[in-house]
């Protein structure tokens, strides 16, 4: 362990709060909202890897890998949704997207 676990947890929670701020304030742009989700998932991955290093168990790294696979699935679906909705409404404002159904 190169640094105490507490410092890693501090870094992870700062990153998580930054991602949360990004998600909550960028309601006018759905791309920035997805970026905020990426930042929060990275903070979670940092916590898993730090715990794996602290206790010498490989499980934390396995879960970090699963978060990564989950993120790539989520991003591909979310960006396909963004392309679809932009084709219909010509905007990326989240407040404009209230229904998926064609009227």
């Amino acid at each position: 362990m190169i640094v105490p676990l507490m410092h890693l947890l501090i870094l992870a929670s700062i990153l998580f709060s930054l991602g949360l701020i990004c998600v909550l304030i960028w309601r006018s742009n759905v791309i920035m909202l997805l970026i905020g989700i990426e930042i929060m998932l990275n903070a979670a991955m940092l916590t898993f890897v730090a715990g794996s290093n602290q206790w010498g168990q490989p499980d934390g790294q396995v879960f970090a890998l699963m978060i990564m696979a989950m993120t790539s699935a989520e991003v591909s679906l979310a960006l396909a949704l963004v392309v679809y909705l932009h084709r219909r409404k010509k905007t990326v404002d989240v407040d404009e997207f209230r229904e998926l159904k064609d009227q």
Binding site: M6, L18, L20, L24, M32, I39, G56, M68
Partner: protein, 163 residues
């Protein structure tokens, strides 16, 4: 040496993320975020997780961010001069929630009990792979099915409609 490197990389990560979330232009935000992910990948390497560090670089900074850039350029969102800045009303819940997180963190730091005993042995790549494909083999199958469903869903959403 490693400690100094860690603190430098942590500072780079936080500052790059700060720039990324305050940037109005999505392409600039993506580039700042790639910087942040590279720094975080080296932090993972310092934490004795070389495979996770490589995957962070290849999948996050490589694939996911390029996918974002691709969608931004395809939808022509690269000129956001008419995009509106978030107002103070929108910032208020974000500031309150992050204040709660940081206050609980400060409470945790100030009332910390004795330090936890650190494990002596380091997780190697071999041990990681044995755990991944042995104990978590079913989870790998489920993850692959999830990726397949994501592909099918993306193809369904992205298809051209006739009208």
């Amino acid at each position: 040496m490693e400690q100094t490197l860690f603190y430098i990389l942590a500072t780079v990560t936080v500052i790059a993320t700060l720039f990324a979330i305050s940037e109005k232009h999505p392409v600039h935000a993506i580039v700042y975020l790639v910087t942040s992910f590279f720094a975080l990948a080296i932090v993972f390497y310092l934490l004795a997780a070389p495979l996770i560090a490589m995957f962070e670089m290849i999948i996050y900074a490589g694939a996911v961010m390029v996918l974002f850039l691709f969608v931004i350029m395809m939808l022509d969102l690269g000129s956001p001069e008419d995009a509106k800045r978030p107002s103070l009303m929108h910032c208020l819940p974000a500031l309150v929630l992050s204040g709660i997180i940081l206050a609980s963190l400060a409470l945790l730091v100030s009332t910390r009990s004795a330090t936890i005993a650190t494990a002596t042995h380091v997780v190697g790549v071999k041990e990681f792979c044995v755990a991944l494909f042995g104990r978590y083999g079913v989870a790998i199958e489920i993850i692959s099915m999830q990726l397949l469903f994501a592909v099918v869903g993306a193809l369904y959403l992205g298809r051209r409609r006739k009208s």
